[in-house]
Amino acid sequence: MATTVKQKAGWGTANTVAVILALVPVLWIVSLSFKDPSTITDATFWPKKWTFQNYRGIFKTSEFTHALINSIGIALIATLIAVVLASMAAYAVARLTFPGKSVLIGMSLLIAMFPAISLVTPLFNIERTLGLFDTWPGLIIPYVAFGLPLGIYTLSAFFREIPWELEKAAKIDGATPFQAFTRVIAPLAAPGMFTTAILVFIFCWNDFLFAISLTSTTNARTVPAAIGFFTGSSQFEAPTGSISAAAVVITIPIIVFVLLFQRRIVAGLTSGAVKG
């Protein structure tokens, strides 16, 4: 199939338009974060005067640095717990026959569709009574619960693709069950678990509603929630620059994931949904 020059130009234009539309809003917030306070209201797309002042400013306030530590810590711990628990359940779903399997799948589906706002009111009250309000566990627990359906879906799709006969073959070759697991199955399962971890991490990193509802101080408030309430480094200054700089900082991990693991993310997103 030879593509003519004209067709090539057509596809090239379409590709370019898609890429530009996807990236312009991101470039805009990057540009704002480098604008000098004197030019931030000049409404030009690129800064006329570049400065690191906004970044220096936010890293000096505990409001941002605490939030960044909270974001990283809470998202990592929640992701780790969710992936471990989801792997156990997904292994059972993919490999074992037991009554109640469809109940588990139905329940995960229900939770995946659950409106988070419906839980905010009761969770707010429950966490205040239990002393979990405005603590790390107070956010980690709901994140694990909402990360689990995503994890169980993606992982059971991945686990179904693993050639499990290899485990038997390894045992016949004299491997102990532990060796069969660590040397044969774990390396095969690791890519799926890693992909799932990225998706769950993005979910936790992204959350805003739980983060603003179940926290009240820098104790556990994550970056998205913190920048929602930023007031600027001085009260006479609109916080545009600070918010943009903070926004760019929390976008960096996402860009890194996307650049390094583009294929995995696509496979993870589509495996659970389409293959069912």
């Binding site: 704002l32 030009t44 588990l104 799948i105 706002i117 009250n125 619960a145």
Partner: protein, 314 residues
Amino acid sequence: MTVHAEPTTPVATGTPAQTGHRRRHLSEGARAERRLGWLLCAPAVIVMIAVTAYPIAYAVYLSLERYDLRFPKQAKFVGFSNYGAVLSSPYWWHALLVTLIITVVSVAIELVLGMLLALLMHRTPFGRGTVRTAILVPYGIVTVVAAFSWQYAWTPSTGYLSAMLNNAAPLTHYGQAIAVIILAEVWKTTPFMALLLMAGLALVPEDLQKAAKVDGATAWQRFTRITLPLMKPAILVALLFRTLDAFRIFDNIFILTAGGNNTYSVSILGYDNLFTALNLGIGSAISILIFLCVAIIAFLFIRGFGAAAPGSSK
């Protein structure tokens, strides 16, 4: 690998003899498997129930009480009067209308754009990886970050988009603000739709397309008569996911308008009743009503359109 494979052969021939032996212990084996299955699922199930089932039951209870956080001692069982208050309030119906408009319009636009993007990624002879990487950025970016980008872009004297339209201030007008909210929502979530549709496109056999082409079908005929019908399951799943997701819209509105100029969705209304009005009873009633709306939408999709609930085939 071949060295490892060889010893398995004699065992493989021995399997039929072993089957009979195994069948006798099947019930015991099945019981052990069942126990292991439950054991492995238990932690996940416990967390999910603790965070969703129990609170939603508690929300039902709270919604039947008069419970103002400022006067917690005066909490009192009032039956369905909170629901009466919400359902007779114009705010609830306006929020529902706004939410439905945003949901229907943004999902419709996303379906069209997502399909175009999916076709592009499926068919483009070069640059496929670049496009895929670029569109994953809107998918992965924090919604609040994207919402700020759009907010500043449309703020007069700060934003380039506002400057391009003679210092327009769309976020201060009801209709235009809704349009900006939809724009932000569409930009953020079209990639997700496109990726699901692209996976659906991959399932359409190339041979059918070629055969139809030989028979003289135009590109449009091939798309509507072959591609679309074969993609129906993928499209319905993508629509179901996105509709339920759009109905819960919160982050974008919170940052863009904070619900000002009557742009509040049901989620924003529920949030305000809890954290501004501090009314747990009314807030819980709204929560339960939103939950019911989501359940109705899911039911309509699965029964009405015959969308296979993901996982139902397992």
